[in-house]
Each structure stands twice: as C-alpha cells, then as structure tokens.
C-alpha cells in the first residue's frame, strides 16, 4: 500500500472558522496589494470580535474594512492608509479618534523587531532607531534600556506573536509549499512568527511545478491552503491583476462619509453589498462581475 501525502487544501469558510474571538491574527500583503480578502470577508461575515490584528508593516484598506466592521480591538502597524486613494485610512482614523481602537504604535523597523523576537522565541530584540522619539511614551510595551555591553540607550521591542497568520500568495501546492510572485513584502516575517499559517492563493499548482523552481518557494510549509481566484480584489495581485481603483474610490468615499460626517450609512451599505450578502467568495465575485475583473489583468 503506497503512502500518500495529505492535501492541506480547505475552503475560505473552514479557514475563517479557525479565527476565534480575542485571537491575535496577522494579515499579510502591503497597503494596496496582496491581501487574503476571501478570508478577511468571511471573518467579517462570521462576526468575529475582539481581535488583535497584526497588519503588514504598512497596512491598507483591508484592515480598515475589518475595523469598520467591528472585528478589531487592537491594531499593530506602522502605517494605515491607501496611498493616493486616501492619506489616512478612514475607519481607522475614526475609531482611533473615538477612542474605540487601541494602536500598538511602531515604525516598520520596530514592527519587524517584534515579529523576529516572536519567531526566535525571544522576549525582545533591541533597536536603536526611535531613541529620542515618542514611541516609548505612546507604546508602553516598548522600553528604553541600557545596552549591557556599551552602556548606550536602546529600545527593547517586545515579541508579538500571532496565533494565526493569514497570507495571500500567487500559488501553492496542495502540501503547503507557497510561491509568491514578486517579493512577498513582509509575509515571511508573519509566517515565521505565527503558530499557524493559512495561505490563500490564486491557483493551486502541482507539486511538480513547485519542484521546477524551488527558488520561488517563499514559505516552505504552511498549515492550510485556500484557493480563491481574484482573491485579493479589490487590491492588486502581482502577476495577476492591478488594484481596482474604481472600487477603492467607492470604498473610500463610503468610509470618509463616516470619518468626516459621522454618517455610517454608506459604509454599512458597502458592507452589506460586498461582504455580508454574498455568502461565499464566488458570490462576491459575481457582485463585482467578470467584466470588471478581467479589466484589471496586469499588462
């Protein structure tokens, strides 16, 4: 009897069911690209609450949507915006200004220090940049301490450990070998730090295709793989599609109505139409429509 490797493929509903109230989860990508949106929307549908979310080093409107949907208690990130779509993420801004969202304030360098400490099972890693700034004051987890060797002041950046990392990539084989197109931003750091990792991909590829180019394997073994074509929409997917500028503007307009005027109507309508009413990722894609989707193909 020949032994067989076990497939790690699950659907986005099962993936989202791993996420429970109060967990610390990490979500990959970078600002306007490469977010595991099929799973993010399913987390919102499930009504998960009280999450500590570790965004990418620079976070985007995917996290803003999660915040607006009420899932997030605390956010770890060095930036929250949409670049030229909006300088500061609207629901994030409103939640902070209303005192409803705790922010673990850091810059990108400190962010990777915290993830590395978690990955290396160390209580902290040191960082010099940030001495003389407000970070140790606005983030009391960051301590100024004296270097035991030279006596100079340093920051101790404590470990932040995700229970689960949820990452978007182009491809994976059924056994959890993941291949990004492009750099993968800081996704590796999330994977290394997390106890478990779920990867959402455009395509599941045969193991033979992974072996054809092992240099491209970015995460060598994750815990589950979710197939979701166009799964980063409305954000970009390197090698597949650019971001949906029109959709992002629609989102920003809805969210800004709340941030500027306190009127949640347009945001809630967005949430209903694009997140709560479509039961699955495929239903969401039907709402967007294939015409729009193929217009985004990278060229």
């Amino acid at each position: 009897m020949a032994l067989e490797r076990k497939s790690l493929v699950i659907d986005e509903r099962e993936a989202a069911s791993w996420i429970r109230d109060g967990m610390t989860i990490a979500i990959g990508g970078f600002i306007n690209s490469s977010h595991p949106m099929a799973i993010v929307r399913q987390i919102i549908r499930r009504g998960v609450r009280g999450l500590t979310v570790i965004g990418p080093a620079s976070g985007g409107l995917d996290l803003d949507l999660l915040i607006g949907a009420g899932c997030v208690r605390k956010l770890v990130t060095a930036y929250m915006g949409g670049e030229h779509y909006c300088p500061v993420a609207p629901m994030f801004r409103a939640a902070v200004e209303h005192g409803e969202l705790e922010v673990w304030e850091c810059d990108e360098g400190m962010y990777y220090c915290a993830l590395r400490a978690a990955a290396q099972r160390l209580p902290f890693t040191p960082w010099k940049a940030g001495i003389g700034t407000s970070f140790p004051e606005v983030n009391p987890d960051i301590k100024v301490f004296t270097d035991p060797i030279t006596g100079e002041p340093l920051l101790a950046i404590p470990a932040i450990k995700p229970d689960i990392a949820i990452i978007y990539a182009a491809h994976a084989d059924p056994y959890g070998n993941v291949q990004h197109i492009g750099t993968g931003f800081g996704d590796r750091a999330l994977w290394r730090a997390a106890d478990r990792t779920i990867v959402q991909v455009e395509r599941i590829i045969p193991n033979e295709e992974v072996r054809r180019n092992p240099l491209a394997t970015s995460l060598y073994g994750v815990d589950a793989v979710v197939r979701a074509p166009y799964g980063s929409h409305p954000f970009a997917a390197p090698g597949y599609y650019i971001e949906d500028a029109e959709h992002l503007r629609e989102y920003v307009a809805a969210a800004m109505t709340y941030a500027k005027h306190g009127d949640r109507g347009p945001f809630d309508a967005y949430l209903r139409r694009y997140v709560l009413e479509p039961e699955t990722h495929a239903d969401y894609l039907e709402v967007i429509g294939i015409k729009r989707l193929i217009s985004l193909h990278e060229y």
């Binding site: 490469s34 670049e83 304030e105």
Partner: protein, 265 residues
C-alpha cells in the same frame, strides 16, 4: 561654462531640481511611490548625473539609465515598474541592513519643530483621544536613523505644520538642539539636512541646530515664510532665491520622467 537656467518652471519642478543635486553617484537611493516630486528629482539625478545610482523602487532594485521615458506609477505596491528589476527586496530582509536600501531618505510630516523633529503619528494633546489621527511613521523612524542624510519634505507650508513643539515625535531631528543635540541622545550626527517646502528651503544653523531660511522660491518673500512658520526661524541678512533648474534638467524632467505632467500643475 555658465549654467543655462530655465525661465519657465513650476515650484514642483524647482524642488525636483534641488533634490536632484542632493544625489551622489554610486549611492543607493530609495524612490517613494507617493512623493512624486522627490521621485522625479532622484530620477533626474540618475539620468543626468549619476549613472551608477542603484534605485530602490516598488521593492526592487534597478537602474533605468537606458529607459527613454518612465511610465507613471502611484503606489508602492504597483508591480508593473518591477519589469525593470535587477533584484527583488524582501521587505523583512530590508530591516537587516537598511543602509543597503538607501543612503538618503525623504521624510514627510504632519508637524515639524524648530530642531527638525517631526510627527506622523497624529495631532492632539492626549494620545488616547487624538484630534487628528495621522497615517503612522511608516519606515521613517528607522530609515532616517540609518541613512547618511535625510530631508524633511512637506507639500504645504503653514503654522499648523511648523510648530514650536510637536504633539508627538515619530522621527527625531536634532533633538533639543545644540551642536551636540543628537550625540546627547546617544545618536549618530545624521539629523535632517534640509527642510523643503513649497515656499522655501531651510537648513539647520550649525551651533544651535535651529531651522534657518536658506533660500526662497521665485515669487515668495522672506515675510511669506516667516508669517507661515509657527516658530522663530533664523533668517540671515541675505536670503537668495532658490537655484532654478537648468534648461537641460527641465527638458529631461518633462520628456523622460514626468511625462504625464504631474509636476507642471
């Protein structure tokens, strides 16, 4: 040979030409996606003066000397300019040695104090209830620490930005001032070099490290600057006009870099 200066240019083009003169050949230079004017300035330096610059752009390294013209891009995650890549830079690897990514850096701000300390966190007296929540520091705290020199750059010049004291500091400048302002904090002496605004260029007086007016852009008076700055600026007796772009700089800028005319508005 005297430089042939251009006569008809915008303030953005003027600033791009200034930034171009800050780049040194052979350096690594990070090119932001969002800040069009600094990006144009760095590309201008590369195409005209610095053939060996290594550009860090949309998370790749490249050299675009042979590109007849650059197509525009608006986000740091736009993967299309990666077609020019000589190398990919994993963002997590980046922090292993930020100096390998850039020798110079441009830092934006919501607030800047007289010693060039700056704030991207937010505005308000109570961090737990900010009146305006900013975007966050991005990588400015760390990049400004590692590069040889950094530049403060703002897209408007008013008393809300130039304040006596920042509500929060996300990137340290010259600390509380004085020639040893940074050394007293245990930091290397690489504080901000210039502060670039739509009205003027400012540097830091060496003994006090307070901001000092260096030049005003065409059509701007010293009084315009002083009136729009919320702290006492050091104003020398003679304040020249900012050096204009050359005819050649303007041509390359318009024909090869800013093809869509973002700097002409």
């Amino acid at each position: 040979m005297a430089k042939a200066y251009a006569k008809d240019f915008t303030t953005k083009e003027l600033i791009a030409a200034f930034i171009a003169r800050q780049v040194r050949d052979g350096e690594r230079v990070a090119v932001g996606a969002g800040l069009h004017v600094p990006r144009a300035g760095i590309l201008l330096a590369h195409l005209l003066y610095c053939p060996n610059v290594r550009l860090y752009m949309v998370m790749t390294f490249t050299n675009v000397l042979k590109e007849p013209k650059m197509e525009p891009f608006y986000t740091v995650t736009d993967f299309r300019p990666a077609k020019w890549a000589e190398a990919y830079v994993l963002h997590d690897d980046f922090q292993e040695n930020p100096r390998l990514v850039s020798n110079m850096f441009v830092v934006g701000a919501l607030q800047i104090d007289p010693y060039g300390n700056s704030n991207l966190i937010g505005v308000g007296k109570d961090y737990r209830r900010l009146t305006f929540r900013g975007p966050g520091a991005i990588g400015t705290t760390s990049m400004a620490h590692y590069v040889d020199r950094y530049y403060l750059y703002v897209q408007s010049h008013d008393r809300r930005i130039f304040v006596e004291k920042c509500d929060f500091i996300s990137t340290v400048g010259w600390g509380e001032g004085g020639a040893d302002g940074r050394r007293r904090l245990g930091l290397p002496d690489n504080g901000p070099t210039y502060c670039i605004t739509p009205l003027c260029l400012m540097d830091f007086e060496p003994q006090t490290k307070r901001m000092r007016l260096k030049s005003v852009h065409p059509g701007v008076t010293v009084d315009d600057v002083v009136r729009n700055t919320g702290f006492e600026l050091i104003v020398p007796d003679i304040v020249p006009e900012t050096e204009p772009p050359t005819v050649e700089e303007l041509r390359v800028l318009r024909e090869r870099i800013d093809v869509e005319g973002m700097l002409r508005t």
